[in-house]
């Protein structure tokens, strides 16, 4: 084989390898990307799955921004306040020079389904006046093969009297058969009755309210019945709080225990280590019954000393029952064994106690391992489901995010509102994705730290 030939083959092989890598990339990211796009859609289950839907068109983003600004002064979330007026223009194709008969209405549509349905919000129809449709332009128009006319209408939506802030102003526009909606200031999110009715969920959406409709709903519709606070926000904060505390306790206690197991001599060390390994292999389903009862009694009644009857439905219970995981101790023990003893021995000869050696000398050297452990713990706690699901049952305000997602799924799965469910899922991924983007090295290494010694 000539050198030229060999070089050609090498290049071809590299090209195939990259092609393969790209194909795998599509496989691993594709479903997420598609799911994300679907979460923006009005109907995430539409057939066929289109990529050019109204919510991704920049023209609509600009229109939504402006309409939101005009309706309430808030270009992001939109809405309508008293004394404001917005104008919407629509153009129809119609074979006759006389304009088609358009019926416009602000429907009394219930604001929100599922969890949101229990809240009685003000209806836009009771407060807002609709002027028009008023014909502003007629000109000859060719649509493919068909000859006809383009009729442009203007709709004015005015909030004249005093009243409450309206989160949304829906609009239905019905045209006779044969009329075709060509363009609109803001594209309707739905076409009903075989394309005769163009429907807007909100004509004053604001940019987020239009493009990220379901995401805004996820925050707005999940409200606490008592306080009216956004539950989704609460769940997110709860998850952060618990993950933060757990990372702290795990780092401190796993380092302590790992150091003792790796370096100190005491009777039963080997037995304790074996027992630790055994505990890692027993599934949580074995221990959760007793643990549930123990927390119910406040850990043998000890919590009564602090005036707490039961530790169920408390974060104290959740955190105390998982102060330090066996896996974390295992990782730290492995790490401490991998660093040379000489440094510590020098300190010990100088009369330092094991505690001083650990906190002053060993731990500062252990930052890589601690970093990996912190991230693994954060990810584990953020994603943990089974045990919080047993401990935290009511009220809904104390849920962590995965538990919240379950109640979300149960509330909206019934009505098939998958867009909202997907939005909730994606929102819950954001912190982990950010963490992953920043510390991805630790994620990938963390898997190895725990498993393979090199």
């Amino acid at each position: 084989m000539s050198p030229k030939e060999a070089a050609r083959r090498r290049w071809a092989r590299v090209a195939w390898a990259y092609g393969l890598l790209l194909a795998f990339g599509v496989f691993f990211v594709g479903p997420f990307l598609m799911g994300f796009l679907a979460s923006l859609k009005t109907d995430p289950l539409e057939w066929p799955f289109t990529l050019g839907f109204p919510q991704v068109r920049p023209k609509n983003w600009a229109a939504a921004w402006q309409l939101g600004q005009k309706g309430s002064g808030d270009p992001w979330l939109g809405g309508m306040r008293p004394g404001r007026e917005v104008v919407l223009e629509v153009a129809y194709f119609w074979p006759e020079p006389t304009p088609p008969d358009l019926q416009a209405a602000i429907p009394r549509r219930r604001p929100g389904a599922g969890m949101g349905a229990v809240f009685e919000g003000p209806y836009a129809a009771d407060h807002v006046g609709l002027l028009g449709p008023e014909l502003v332009e007629t000109r000859p128009f060719r649509l493919g093969e068909a000859e006809g006319y383009l009729h442009r209408f203007r709709l004015r939506i005015a909030y004249e009297k005093e009243g409450p802030y309206l989160e949304r102003v829906p609009l239905d526009l019905e045209a006779p058969r044969g009329a075709l909606l060509l363009e609109a200031t803001l594209d309707p999110v739905r076409m009903e009755r075989r394309g005769r009715v163009a429907s807007w969920d909100n004509v004053v959406p604001g940019l987020l309210g239009y493009a990220f409709h379901n995401y805004v709903r996820a925050f707005r519709e999940t409200r606490s019945l008592e306080t009216g606070q956004s539950l989704f926000l609460r769940w997110t904060l709860n998850s952060f709080l618990i993950a933060f505390i757990k990372v702290l306790t795990t780092l401190v206690f796993a380092s302590m225990a790992g150091y003792a197991l790796a370096r100190l001599r005491f009777p039963g060390r080997q037995a304790l280590f074996l027992f630790l390994l055994f505990s890692m292999m027993v599934p949580g389903q074995v221990t959760f019954i007793s643990n549930y009862l123990v927390l119910k009694d406040g850990i043998f009644g000890l919590s009564r000393l602090f005036g707490v009857e039961t530790l169920l439905n408390t974060y104290a219970g959740l955190i105390l029952s998982g102060l330090v995981g066996a896996g974390a101790v295992f990782i730290m023990k492995q790490f401490f064994e991998s660093i040379p003893r000489e440094v510590e021995e020098a300190a010990l000869i100088d009369g330092a106690t094991p505690l001083q050696t650990l906190f002053r000398i060993v731990l500062p050297m252990a930052t890589p391992a601690l970093g990996a452990l912190a991230i693994l713990t954060f990810q584990g706690t953020w994603n943990e489901f089974f045990w919080p699901f047993i401990v935290l049952t009511s009220p809904r305000e104390i849920y962590t995010l995965p538990l919240g997602l379950l109640s979300f799924r149960n509330a909206y799965g019934q009505v098939g509102d998958w867009g909202l469910i997907l939005a909730g899922g994606f929102l819950s991924m954001i912190p982990i994705l950010i963490l992953f983007a920043v510390f991805q090295r630790y994620f990938v290494e963390g898997v190895n730290v725990g498993a393979v010694k090199e």
Partner: protein, 367 residues
């Protein structure tokens, strides 16, 4: 004096171990022993436990939901573990090359495994709806089957012609020569496109509407909803195991392959005689971790069941059976039975570990 130093060290150790001993003692040892005790009693959380001997264990095997859960768990565990091990190994082999930007790809591939089971389950619910993306992708594939066949045929023809041409010129070439294939593929694509334009190859009408979730119908004895969970979980766990394999592959000395190549070994021989034997510890580790992880399937069952989802008898697993008997809706808890089932599950897990220790190599793998 010496004794005193020893005692002091022991005391320090005790202090350092205190939090671990507390968690391990109260929330593991005590809990484990209590589970063993409960499993021999009849207990409903309210009245005191009543000793019944081995009755719970015997009752388990007469309880149809338990047998169903056992079958689901074993089938799920075996299918997912073999799928993910095989695919993760393939992926690791593909990624184990000195290419530029390979770390970026690794990062992207790792993405599915960082998200929570809750979020993954929500994605699953959407993917496997009747008009969800999975059915749409299957429809698309079926509809364009003629195109795919034409593409494969054209590729084979073009490649064959090129190889023959090379042979005539006197250069021995294998059929899958990468340089020639790189030319054949775009040509075959163009050819297929031309055939489509000429109307010789046309997309068929196809609309796959497999009801993945709201059904108890089964394929190969495994219900459809469980298949959905199998596919989703394989998808989200492949990356983790791929990373383990990559670490293992890095540990194999390059010189072995170089020596084998000098002796004229084919890629397959190198794979089966060098890679697999040297990867054995990691292979066993991956299989063990996979089996342990899959035996405890619970979250997805809870998410996929319920309103608009799958019937529980189609997805029930051992872990769910345990939970369902401790907190049943509208019935008295059967804690004894649940404990027996949980210990059975623990027994299965320990069996896997023991098998691994018996047949696997432990000095470099899982301790």
């Amino acid at each position: 004096m010496r004794l005193k130093a020893r005692t002091l060290e022991g005391l320090y150790a005790l202090f350092l171990l205190l939090p671990l001993l507390f968690t391990l003692g109260v929330f593991f040892l005590y809990a484990f022993l209590r589970a063993v005790y409960f499993s021999f009693t009849d207990y409903d959380l309210f009245s005191p436990p009543r000793f019944v001997g081995l009755a719970n264990y015997l009752r388990l095997f007469q309880d149809p939901p338990f047998l169903k859960a056992l079958w689901h768990t074993l089938a799920y565990s075996l299918v997912v573990t073999s799928l993910q091990t095989f695919l993760a190994l393939l992926l690791a082999l593909a990624l184990n090359q000195p290419l530029k930007g390979i770390t970026a790809f690794r990062t992207v591939y790792y993405l599915p495994s960082v998200i929570s089971t809750a979020a993954a389950s929500l994605l699953l619910l959407w993917l496997f709806q009747r008009t969800g993306l999975v059915n749409q992708a299957l429809s698309l594939l079926l509809a364009h089957l003629p195109h795919l066949l034409a593409l494969a045929l054209l590729f084979a023809l073009l490649q064959g012609a090129q190889v023959l041409w090379e042979k005539r010129k006197g250069t021995p070439t294998s059929f899958l020569d990468p340089a020639l294939a790189l030319l054949s593929l775009p040509l075959a694509l163009l050819g297929t496109y031309a055939l489509d334009l000429l109307g010789l190859v046309q997309a068929r009408e196809a609309r796959v509407e497999v009801p993945w979730l709201p059904t108890s119908a089964a394929f190969l004895g495994i219900p459809y909803p469980l298949w959905a969970i199998i596919l989703m979980n394989t998808y989200t766990t492949i990356p983790t195991f791929m990373v383990l394999f990559l670490a293992g592959l890095k540990g194999i000395p390059k010189t072995l392959y170089e020596a084998a190549a000098l002796d004229g070994a084919s890629p397959w021989v190198m794979f089966s005689r060098i890679t697999v034997p040297l990867l054995r510890p990691v292979l066993f580790l991956v299989i063990t971790l996979g089996l342990i992880g899959t035996l405890q399937l619970f979250d997805q069952v809870l998410f996929v069941g319920g309103s608009g989802g799958a019937p529980i008898e189609a997805t029930i697993t051992l872990a769910y059976y345990v939970y369902g008997n401790v907190f049943p809706s509208g019935a008295a808890p059967r804690v004894g039975l649940a404990s027996a089932a949980a210990l059975f599950l623990a027994g299965l897990t320990l069996l896997v570990v023991l098998l691994q220790r018996r047949f696997g190599v432990s000095e470099r793998g899982w301790t």
